[in-house]
Amino acid sequence: MNGAQDMGGMMGFGPIMAEKDEPVFHAAWERRAFALTLAMGGPGAWNIDQSRAARESLNPAQYLAKSYYEIWLAGLERLMSERGLITPEEIAAGKPLQPAKPVTGVLTAARVEGVLARGRPTERAAEAPQRFQIGERVLARNVHPTGHTRLPRYVRGHVGLLTHVHGAHVLPDANAAGLGELPQWLYTVRFTAQELWGEAADRTASISVDAWESYLEAV
């Protein structure tokens, strides 16, 4: 969706505020919000694309006003309440008011190391032949899906050069919508800055995005 998360090319946010010797977390609650989000991925049984979609569904004004871990927290609460794992009343009360739902995949301390080490690879066996080849020029489709997508607005309608093939990967658009993984070929496509931003742009710069096959068309 064309939400506030899709920031490439926006203006007016001001200088980049890099903090010297920055700590990993800036408050105790950030630690817990981070860990709760990771830990709930097991019993919650949502996937990373549903996680991202939940964060992106925040009203743009809220998204831009919240800090990073506040956005995570809002996303986590939404995912859990959608699945009936927790209610707003329970958060307000700070204690369960309904019986727990039966869940599997609770992340115990003993499983943390293995779960992190395995990660969640997204490469899958290809279900169709590869349509585009390295060196080909391709068009990023001018599409505006109302659901989750990973094709940023700033490349839509522009032509780039296909530079890498990464195999077939889980399609976020489908996975976020609960339609299954529907793996597709994943490519890297490089656009010149002038193609994206016009003649005044830096002639030495290019921007590459990773794009699934259905995001692209032959030129």
């Binding site: 200088p15 105790a28 927290l73 700070g94 943390v112 990967h169 030495t204």
Partner: protein, 206 residues
């Protein structure tokens, strides 16, 4: 309940602090979450996983041409040789800086970042100013970080829009020809592996 942990016990808790505490209490009481697992997750990313991992990868690539070739060919496998793998680093690509090319990594859509080699991203990487401008005007972004490149250096920006995670292989600075891998790793800053910095010169390292 979870009051035995290192929370601030003061009387000035903010709304968000209270909310996260309440949330954790409910989730633990319902049996969805093991508080010891939370502690371990936090400890992992606060102390064990961080840019020192990536610095080892870069230093090895500088010191060992065969390793560098493996890293540029299959970064996931080469990085796993050093024991770094998993969450948010499942599919790695290394991109090499040279006199002709400078690479810069961003995630305009969220905060994608190669956790196993760099740890969790700094606030600026996740912030609107960086995400909006790195793709629009990378040279001005680099200048804000104090990186001024020759006008004809090609700038390649990598927007992490899928599950591919990018690691910049910075240029090896001159003057450290006789240094060991361990010494070389001290020249590798976090920002040099994102592309918003360069490797330090030997004179900068005590």
């Amino acid at each position: 309940m979870h009051d035995e942990h290192d929370h601030d016990h003061g009387s000035h808790l903010t709304d968000v602090e209270l909310r996260v505490r309440a949330l954790e209490s409910v989730l633990v009481a319902k049996g969805y979450v093991d508080p010891k697992a939370l502690d371990l997750l936090i400890e992992t990313y606060e102390t064990r996983v961080g840019p020192h991992n990536g610095a080892r990868v870069v230093a090895k690539a500088w010191a060992d041409p065969n390793y560098k070739a493996r890293l540029l060919k299959d970064a996931t496998a080469a990085i796993a040789e050093l024991g770094y793998a998993g969450r948010q680093g499942e599919h790695m690509v290394a991109v090499e800086n040279s006199d002709q090319v400078h690479n810069l990594v961003v995630c305009t859509l969220c905060s994608c970042y190669p956790w196993p080699v760099l740890g969790l991203p700094p606030v600026w990487y996740k912030s609107a100013p960086y995400r909006s401008r790195a793709v629009l005007d990378p040279r001005s972004v680099l200048a804000e970080f104090g990186v001024t490149l020759p006008a004809n250096t090609e700038i390649k920006v990598w927007d992490s829009t899928a599950e591919i995670r990018y690691l910049v292989l910075p240029q090896r600075p001159a003057g450290a020809e006789a240094w060991s891998e361990e010494q070389l790793s001290r020249l590798v800053s976090r920002d040099s592996m994102i592309g918003t910095g360069l490797a330090k010169s030997p004179a900068e390292v005590p």
